[in-house]
Amino acid sequence: MSAPGDFDVIVIGGGLHGCSAAYHLAAARLKPVVLEKHVVARHASSASAGGVRRLGRDPAEIPLAMASIEMWHAMRATLGDDGEFRATGQVRVAENVDELRQCEARAAQVRALGYDHEVVIDRKELRRLVPAVAEQCIGGLYTARDGYAFPFKATTAFRLKAEALGAVVKEDTRVEAIERSGERWLVTTNRGPFRAPVLVNAAGAWGAEIARMLGEEVPIEPVALMMMVSGRMPHFLDPTVGSMGRKMSFKQMQSGTVVIGGGHRGRVDPLTELTELEFQFLGESARTVAAIFPLMKHAPLVRCWAGIEGFTPDELPIIGPSKAVPGVFHSFGFCGHGFQLGPVVGSITAQLVTGGKTNLPIEPFRVDRFAGSPPQA
């Protein structure tokens, strides 16, 4: 290390993916620095509903999700902190025969790919797992080893372990310019220059801005995903519950509060990094919750918020090497379902940095897959 700003790897973005990458890089005996424009876990990584879910994933993501779930289960051993991960399973309820058929088709599709983690459950098994579910729910899909975690604490767990292994985290450090200087990248920030031969772009909804600085156009739309949380309720639910036919993600946390998401979108101003909620959609969310969990009708909602996430046109993330410049690896644009993938994608990024390849199939996530498609509005 020749100067204070010199590192082996510069990780841009202090969210779950940046912190996971920093941990895996540091564990591989490299010295990474994480540059975070605000504070660690400022946006999606603390606003996330925290679902650790393989259930219902795009087939392209299943191999990664299968590897990642093992890392979640091992997290206490590897990081010394489990980010409050609880493997209480994930369920998607079917409210009618059509939806139950969709469950069967989905389970068959997953089996055909060689996996058996998604299973169809009947009315009786659904009630055993989710006693509070409404009468019209006739079954569903279930993954037993999935669950949820506390996003801020999971991100912090990676950050603290990375720091313990020698990584440096710089908060309130905004990237202003990136240029190639010999064999190294020179990243200019409001807190001075940083240099390293390798860059990791884990800038979330701002990942496309970083890519653009490197001459790579990626169509990313910043989206504000809305969530609501109730006051503390007596314990009534273990698994995280979604729906085959409606937008809902529903879980009761250890504290007794119920976190409700489901992909309802608010408005986002990427410049001010502020979000505004669209309450008519939260009204719909409340109707869904009241229909599937009638006991929730009288539950007080104490807070609603939205996290800013980057969405790609095909709703799959960008993972892997830059196709424009050497020594750059992307890990952003997780489209609202990157939380579960955090551990494994950090490990993939570290493999790519250290050995140039990974044993997991990341071709579907290549950065140039949208080339030639019309630019986003």
């Binding site: 504070v39 801020f152 604490k153 309450f279 008519q280 009204g283 409340a286 007080p300 807070r303």
Partner: protein
């Protein structure tokens, strides 16, 4: 859904005066009030007290009786009144989320005036969560709303005009006051502001009158009280403290705590309007122009919610905001606004001259702003000052991170109760000014809403 001209949140002196003024100038106005009758906190129950409960009027005193004229003028105007209505959201586009009859809905307005008044500053002392300990303003609200007085013995502790006012009201109502414990009033620091408070008219005489009536009744008074604790098994049994170096213990059934009021900025912070830290009042207030306009087009704030000025100042601020609303919506031009508002502007400024004296005289005690480790600061989530300091040691640089670490501010009050204390503790621990540390990001709904109530929103 057709937009009303002016939606006013809150029916205290500022909201009512603004409503009457704007309606008299021809605007369509609706006042949304969480209570069932106009008056806000300061004039709570005034219509009932001035009518069927006339006996309570003598107890509550002349400052309270002044509310009668404000409410009467509002009632005489064409302004609409929506009682028992909670405003849980104001958006930048001037849509309001309201809750009425168990159903959430949205209301559109061309202009919004936030007149949500003041909140009591929290007084986190050891034992403040025991039953039998309450804030003085809450005790006063019971008196106004229903004439309820404690059986006693009562201890009043803290500082500020409201503490003396409550003591005087309790004296008039025949309550058994065991002691009034005053924490750190800064007479010397207030002295330079004495001429201004005299010019403000009435304030000094009113304050001295309250103090005299409490003294005359023989209420034991302790000055420079420190180490205040509420003690008891399961409920309050006694108040312990030191005064003049001597430890004392006074048995009590009720302890009323007070250390001043602060702007209730929650609704504006959730929009968010731009806010600033006011060192003299140690609280946040919205950044406003001379007419009460915020940095968000069409949204104004008036009264104590814009910074503490008291009820008389709030009436004038409300009228000023009413004239400005009429100008902004094209009913009168700027010259007409200036001419009509001139008297209120002068009166408003005169009333505000009393503040520097009161702010300097009654600073919130450091031990109450930055409590010891074992004192609970977030009552909803039961988080202690020590846990907040621990989160700072773990790398928390502001209230939002400390919230993620500890859950403080995540409960039903949304940080209304603990927000100031949390910012003060973090600033103190980091050795930074409170202004640099900031406050919670406040998220709607600012008052809890049930799933069933929100489900009504289409």
């Amino acid at each position: 859904m057709s937009a009303i001209d002016l939606a006013i949140v809150g029916a205290g002196p500022a909201g009512l005066a603004a409503a009457a003024t704007a309606a008299e100038l021809g605007l369509s106005v609706t006042v949304f009030d969480e209570n069932t009758a106009p008056g806000g906190q300061i004039y709570r129950g005034i219509e009932a007290v001035a009518g069927p409960r006339a006996r309570d009027l003598a107890v509550l005193g002349p400052a309270y009786a002044a509310g009668k004229a404000v409410v009467e003028r509002f009632r005489a105007s064409k302004a609409g009144y929506s009682p028992a209505t909670t405003v849980w959201l104001v958006q930048k586009d001037r849509r309001l989320g309201i809750l009425r009859d168990g159903k959430a809905s949205m209301v559109e307005a061309r202009r919004v005036l936030i007149a949500t008044g003041a909140l009591e500053r929290p007084v986190p002392i050891p034992g403040w969560t025991l039953p039998g300990v309450m804030l003085a303003g809450a005790a006063q609200s019971l008196l106004k709303a229903s004439g309820m007085v404690p059986a006693g013995p009562v201890v009043l502790a803290g500082n500020g005009p409201l503490l003396w006012q409550l003591a005087a009201q309790f004296v008039a109502a025949g309550v058994n006051i065991a002691a009034l414990l005053e924490t750190g009033s800064a007479y010397k620091a207030a002295l330079p502001h004495l001429p201004a408070v005299v010019l403000a008219g009435g304030y000094l005489a009113k304050g001295l009158g309250l103090i005299a009536s409490v003294r005359k009744a023989g209420v034991p008074i302790r000055r420079s009280v420190e180490g205040l604790r509420a003690v008891g098994k399961g409920r309050l049994q006694a108040v312990e403290f030191t005064a003049g170096g001597r430890a004392e213990r006074i048995p009590a059934e009720l302890l009323c705590l007070h250390q001043g009021v602060v702007a209730n900025a929650q609704l504006g912070m959730a929009i968010p309007l731009k806010h600033e830290w006011v060192e003299a009042q140690r609280c946040w207030r919205p950044v406003l122009d001379a007419w009460g306009n915020s940095d968000v087009e069409g949204i104004a704030v008036a009264g104590d919610g814009a910074g503490i000025g008291g009820a008389d100042a709030a009436v004038h601020a409300g009228r000023i905001a009413g004239f400005e609303a009429a100008r902004a919506l094209g009913r009168i031009d700027a010259a007409a606004r200036d001419a009509r508002a001139a008297g209120d502007v002068a009166a408003w400024r005169r009333h505000l001259r009393a503040r520097p004296f009161l702010d300097a005289l009654y600073p919130p005690a450091r031990a109450l702003r930055v409590p010891a480790d074992d004192v609970m600061v977030c009552r909803c989530e039961e988080v202690t000052a020590g846990q907040v300091r621990e989160a700072v040691r773990q790398g928390g640089t502001g209230p939002n991170q400390v919230k993620s670490f500890t859950r403080t501010g995540m409960g039903p009050c949304q940080g209304r109760m603990c927000g100031l204390t949390i910012s003060e503790i973090i600033a103190d621990a980091l050795g930074k000014p409170v202004a640099a540390v900031g406050t919670y990001r406040i998220r709607p709904p600012i008052k809890p809403l049930t799933v069933g109530e929100l489900a009504a929103l289409e």
